[in-house]
Amino acid sequence: MLLRPKIALSILPVILLQIIVLVIPSFLLYQEYFAEQIKEHISDSISQVENTLQLQLNTMQANSLLFSQSAILNRYLRTEDEIIRFNIMHKVLANQFASFMDAYPEYIEISLVMLDGYEEVSLLKNSGSNLSDEEQDNLYFKNIAKSPHNFTIIPQINPDTKQWVLVLARKVFQKNIIEQSTSTKEELKAYLIIKTSFDFIDNIITSNSLIEHGFMVLQDTKGRPILINGDKKLTSSSLSELFTTMPRNHVLQLTDWALQKKNYIVGQKELFNGLFFSIGWSKSELTHLLKEMGYTSLISSFLVMLVSAATLFWLLNKLLIHPILKLGLSAQEMGVKGGRWSFYSKSHDELHDLANTIKDMGIGLLRQKQKVHETAYIDSLTKLPNRRQFTDALNHHYCRSNYQIPNIALLFIDLDGFKEVNDNFGHVTGDHLLMAVAKRLKHALRAEDYINPGRHKIARLGGDEFTVLLTGTNDRHAAEHIAKRILKVLSTSFMIAEREFLIGASIGIAIAKETGESAIDLLKNADTAMYEAKMMGKNTYRFFSKTAALKSLKAMEIKEDLRRAIHNNELQLNYQPQICSKSGKMVGCEALVRWHKPGKGWIPPDVFIPIAEESGLIISLGRWVILEACHQVKLWQAMGIPVVPVWVNVSCVQLEREDMHSVIIDCLMETGLSAELLAVEITESSIMQGEDSILQLQKIQSSGIQIALDDFGTGYSSLSALRGLPINKLKIDKSFITDLNSGDDGKAIVSAIIAMAHQLHLQVVAEGVETAEEFNFLKQYSADIIQGYYFSKPLLPNEISERFAKHIKIKAAG
């Protein structure tokens, strides 16, 4: 499952769980909270009503005291003559009451009632009619008349208006003037009455909008409702019933009470003597509220859940999934296509770090890949594409052209005289030369690239072989032009290690449309054409031609045949005896390889040895020669024939490529031959190869194996250079021996070589000796050992054994 649906699927249950965890307890908490709130609300409302009432009572009390002390009232009461009181003072007092009522509009009546209950002055708000002047039967009057207090406050129904009013009655005292001097006793003169409606509470009660389904009721001691607010269906009789049946509380208490088949939470309190206040909260309203709250919180939680889930998802998407996808794409881009790193993040979070790590890893991998690619596809020496890349590119052209022959041409370049440079100046020099050649080739083709960009691809196939692939052309002239240019740039001398080298190149050209059915064909044909060029005297180019191809095919065949020959034991060793010039005895023999190809006859060594060296077959051939020689000597020993050391030729390729010392020791061990019966002949080039080769030779020599320097005089080594080298013998090249017949110069050189060699304590071997004159001269100049047809041609092993057996007497010349 992908991360996105996984997150989506996991967010929802988590949030749902949260909702369940949050909503249910909060619902329960709310239930409790609502109940608490209702209780608080009820007690608040009650105390609000109570406070307001108390405030009103206090105000009334204070006002009544103030009014009772009015000078006009005093004067009025002091005037005992009723007629005067009424005619002179009544209206003035009424005016004063009127001004009180103007100041305190909440009073609906201010009146003055005499002790006998006669209401003398009465001022009603809005000039309400006063039905009766006789107040003695009125509740408040009875109350104040028997009260020990100075004032009483009672709720009662106003007989004039049939409305509930709050009546304050205050005793008005007056000091008796006559008695003033002896006592402070005051005489009760009248009652001051102040009436107020319940409007002040009514406002609070009716403004209480929460009581829609409940009720609020103010009742007197008999349960008569004074003020009702709330459910209109509630009858005053049922409210009275509530009052009469409910236990009385001076302290607020909440009771569950059923009223007209509805359940209420009822709070009741006596506000002051004779005035009770009740609040009933409909239970159904509570449930309704809870339900509403529940729905609201569920809906809002759900909305919050949706929003937060969306936000969370969006955030995860933005912060995690999207970057991960981008990171993935970027990594893919980099890893698979090798493209640039495209993931950039502004935030410095873990993803950023991860991206950086992946980027670094990717870059590292890319570098490694490049390195691997370089190792695999780039020639380490010249930094040119190697054979593999070249082959791939070539194949690519063939593949791309949909199995049609592509428009390409191939130039196969082989350096002329490189092998000699390598042999004589060592590989280091050779390598430098190759690098220089590569540089010139690149340079030359870069100039061509200005004309036809990207259409010339150079590669080094190995050794001194280079190729140039021309794409998009069938034109012989174009290829010819490039070839000429290459020849020209390579014809100028190279300066390497302060030495001047002159080399050339042979170039074979194959045009795909003409001769390249396949990539392999094209390469082979270019190669063949190169051989043709070589044959044509080097430093030239040739287009592939069938006849030339046939010729070079021979060399190829020889290579293959030789491989087979080594396998099939088609080779054999011949031994040419070496004769001591003084004693005439055979002191050794040189093992020479012979190849008898079935159906072809003998193939001379100077034909197949270079091919073997070039192809690397020399390694296995060399091993075979050493082992075969060892076996032969051992065989001779077993036959009881007195044996002489056998000299085998070791090519410089062998010295370069393998541990010759081990190879030789292995062969000796395998055959059980003693080391003094095996000797090694090397060429001058082996010595020139450098320290490694010399060290190998020293090791071989120290194992008791003699070493001879073959073909001396053909190379560049001078005699003085031989000093200190691990060499026991010096073999003068047969060309010098041949030259002995041509004049004195030849004789002088040979005699000088012999003399010098002796000076270096080296034995001198002369090979290729064919005549008595030659032998005599060599003997005269003390050449130590003579090898050649004068004494014997190379012999088969059994011929040698016969020779040993016959004890052939050497043709000793006088």
Partner: protein, 369 residues
């Protein structure tokens, strides 16, 4: 604090001693003040009276003659005066103008004293004639003027000449909002009772209720229940903002002088006959000057001038001799005896009647608020 009827006890003696000491000290301090003051010190008296109820020339003459200053404090209605006196107990006033009804109450409340006829011999000229049921026995003070309460109206602004109270209490539509009434319940309720043919002092609750109904029905047509003697009322009738007003004969004649279209009459049902008195305040600061003043205005010449100014009948018999015949023959100033007999003077009412009056007045005022 003066108790009108002192209870006989030792307290009284103590009180008397105390008040004597107080009085003596007051007297001494005033003598001291007088002695300390320069000889030409202007003496002052304060007169509590109706506005524009004395000829100003008379005052000027008095002030000149006695090198004195007369301060006036005006009240707008009898109730206004009552309130002032209740609150001050008559302190700060030297002479008071009092109507016939309240004289005895004021006396009982100890607010007024009798003038000394020795100190002001001219007051002997002032004798009221027989006026309806006016109680001559209860006269402690010097009569000042007398007249009637009736109707003043603009004859150019009423559809037909007014002859009856009924035209006022059940007014023609043209009079809607053009009627001015009094602020005094005795006048408003009293005249309503009169128009119904009852006594204006009636205490019969049925009669009073009828009067109430009549007044409530009239109320929408009434422009206001304000004191008769107010300047605005005067102005309103003169400018024509009001067409009919309940007023006094003297005031009506003053209005007639300003606007000839103003007519006054005592309706056929009869009106009220009243008399005003000048009293010596019980708390008078300058009793001597007060006596000089009452003596001065009762000089026949001055009394006659004042009557001419006030357009009121004068109780001064010597002054009457000096008055022109057209004044004496003016039926408004001197209504014929039959009309006087038809009319009543104001009486003290019973507490319940007063309560009824007061509640009717409050009701009317609420209606016209």
């Amino acid at each position: 604090m003066h108790k009108v009827i002192p209870a006989p006890s030792t307290e009284l003696i103590k009180y008397l001693i105390l008040s004597t000491i107080l009085f003596t000290s007051l007297l001494l301090s005033s003598i001291f003040c007088l002695a300390a003051a320069p000889s030409q010190q202007t003496e002052e008296i304060t007169f509590l009276t109706w506005g524009d109820y004395i000829n100003p020339e008379l005052v000027t003459q008095f002030e000149a003659e006695y090198n004195a200053k007369v301060n006036f404090v005006y009240f707008e209605s009898d109730n206004g005066r009552d309130e002032i006196l209740i609150n001050t107990n008559a302190f700060g006033y030297d002479i008071l103008l009092v109507d016939s009804t309240n004289l005895i109450s004021y006396k009982k409340l100890g607010w007024i004293n009798d003038f000394d006829p020795q100190a002001a011999p001219n007051i002997n000229y002032a004798q009221l004639p027989e006026l309806s049921n006016l109680d001559k026995e209860a006269q402690f003070c010097t009569p000042y003027a007398w007249g009637t309460t009736g109707i003043a109206y603009r004859k150019d602004l009423v559809p037909e000449p007014i002859t009856s109270w009924k035209q006022v209490f059940s007014p023609a539509p043209e009079l809607q909002g053009k009627i001015l009434m009094s602020s005094m319940s005795t006048e408003v309720v009293g005249m309503a009772l009169k128009s119904l043919g009852y006594s204006m002092a009636s205490s019969n609750s049925q009669e009073l209720e009828q009067a109430r109904q009549l007044l409530l029905a009239q109320a929408p047509s009434v422009a206001g229940y304000s004191p008769i003697a107010s300047d605005t009322k005067t102005a309103k009738l003169v400018t024509g903002q009001a067409s009919v007003t309940l007023t006094y004969s003297g005031d009506a004649l003053m209005l007639h002088a300003l606007e000839p279209q103003v007519e006054y009459l005592v309706p056929k049902e009869g009106g009220a006959v009243w008399a005003d008195f000048i009293c010596l305040s019980a708390q008078a600061g300058n009793v001597k000057l007060a006596h000089h003043f009452i003596d001065f205005i009762n000089r026949p010449k001055q009394a006659a001038d004042n009557a001419l100014y006030l357009f009121n009948a004068t109780p001064n018999s010597e002054a009457e001799k000096l008055l022109p015949s057209e004044f004496l023959n003016n039926s408004i100033i001197y209504p014929d005896e039959a009309l006087i007999a038809q009319s009543e003077t104001y009486q003290l009412l019973s507490p319940r009647t007063i309560k009824k009056h007061n509640s009717i007045m409050r009701e009317l005022k609420e209606l016209t608020k």
